[in-house]
Amino acid sequence: MALTEKYGELIQKTFAKYPDKRSAVMPMLHLAQQEYGWVSPEGIQEVAEICEMDPTQVKSIAGFYTMYSESPKGKYWLQVCTDLACALGGADKFYEDLKAELGVEDGGTTEDGLFTVEHVMCLAACDKAPMLQCNFHFEEKLDMEKMRKRLAEWRAEAAKAK
């Protein structure tokens, strides 16, 4: 029970918010994903024990919501909005160029394991298209020049972390 040991206080604080332990399942899945990089089978098991739920129920909840990743992702998970409002601002072309730059298909991960790219629906930043979220942080008003700079920064950051 790595999560309970490591995050006991946070878990108790989360429980205190709700009259029902089950309501903590979403925050706990977020916690598991942060800890392990994805919602792994062990993560599901731990969350089920924490929330006193059936693991299959936890799994179906994890499957319902798109932010819970049920397979390992790259260190930087790039979610590019190609929904209507962004597409009118050039998002489709931007996404094509980004995939070409990284040499991956939609949903793919670069060979070095650094970047996963995926197209997503509206992220509430339509006035700043093209845009994406990298590990759920907003990156807005992008073009390929700006993007190449960010990619280089992330590569440098990852190299430093090693």
Binding site: P27, Y65, L84, A85, A124, A125, H137
Partner: protein, 435 residues
Amino acid sequence: MNILLRGRDIPDLHKLDVYLKHGGYEGLKKALSMKPAEVIELVKASGLRGRGGAGFPTGLKWSFIPQNEPVKYVTVNCDESETGTFKDREIIETNPHQLIEGALICAYAIQATAVYIYLRGEFWDQGHALDGYIEEARKAGLVFDNIAGSGWSCPVYTHLGAGAYICGEETALLESLEGKMGQPRVRPPFPANKGGGLYGEPTVINNVETLTNVPWIMVQGAEEYKKIGTEQSAGTKIFCVSGHVEKPGNYELPLGITMRELLYTHAGGIRGGKQIKAILPSGGSGPIMRVNGNDDAILDTKLSYEDMAKAGSILGSASIIVMDEDTDIAWVATKAIQFFKHESCGKCTPCREGTYWLEKVCERIMANEAQLSDIDLVSNIAKNMQGMTLCALGDFAANPIIHTVKLFPEDFKKHIAQPSAPAVKKAAQPAPAGD
């Protein structure tokens, strides 16, 4: 005038000391000096209507909550996932305390046990920042225990979703908060009734923008609020303008200004001096409006709940997506249906199957591989979904098809497979328009 986006006029308004210096939490203190029922009457008298899309009168909604139930909740809807909508995000980033204050006034008015602010999971940074603002307010004695020395207590919590548009639908939101899949509930019972709300208790669900109006109304009074806007649509509204305009962004303006004023005076007109062709006034979900160029009288439509309905569309959440003359409306419809197919929760058959088939046929049309009869086919599938689904998403998904086919048939017909023309084999072509 900015009631909601005051953060544009006052630097650092998100900080509690700055907010307090500018009259912050005075509305709450005023409310606490009144009887709960009087607060509800005041909000009723202001004419405030829900900004989440349906425009339901806010005070009336609060008055449905039974007084004698011991446990009641307020849930704040910050799921903001409709295509083209980005107003609640600016509020929670730049004026978060006014939302917290508004939610507390609502909580006091219905004598709620707790407030939950439900944020879409992608508002990860914003949600954590909001936790910080709530903590600041707690230290100042403005939330949780003995609020502003009144003896009344109410906690305020945030809850992050995890990527599902349907959780903006109020009963799906409640399911999600209860730790379940975000699937809409069968009504009745309604959320305001025992058995229908959060954990089965009577619950008010209001949009972020709705509640952020409330502190201003408390301080300035219902009459002052009613002076802004139109007879049936009081107050200001944040219009989210995106697409082919020179200056996309949020514009807070009195309800009842014309579309022309919004798009040309404020949003800088159509990009590159082009002509306007169409407007989606409520993101992907409301009926599209056909505009035949920059001089079209439809641009004189007033942006109010009543005038937009008269013009055959809706004001909804006022996420106004603008398309210029080069835009292929069949492509727009395809984008919209791809959204709804992706976001259908799958609970009821007409929506699950309908969006699946609509996407398939629309993609066939975009690949220039469809027959003329496919245009009727999509209309028929969409019409068969209308009114047949458990929640409004089914109707939202039917709208972009029904109205685009009706108003822009030529844009669909040009994709119909010609035996001689080489077919372009690719689903959902990139925007042919100005990018």
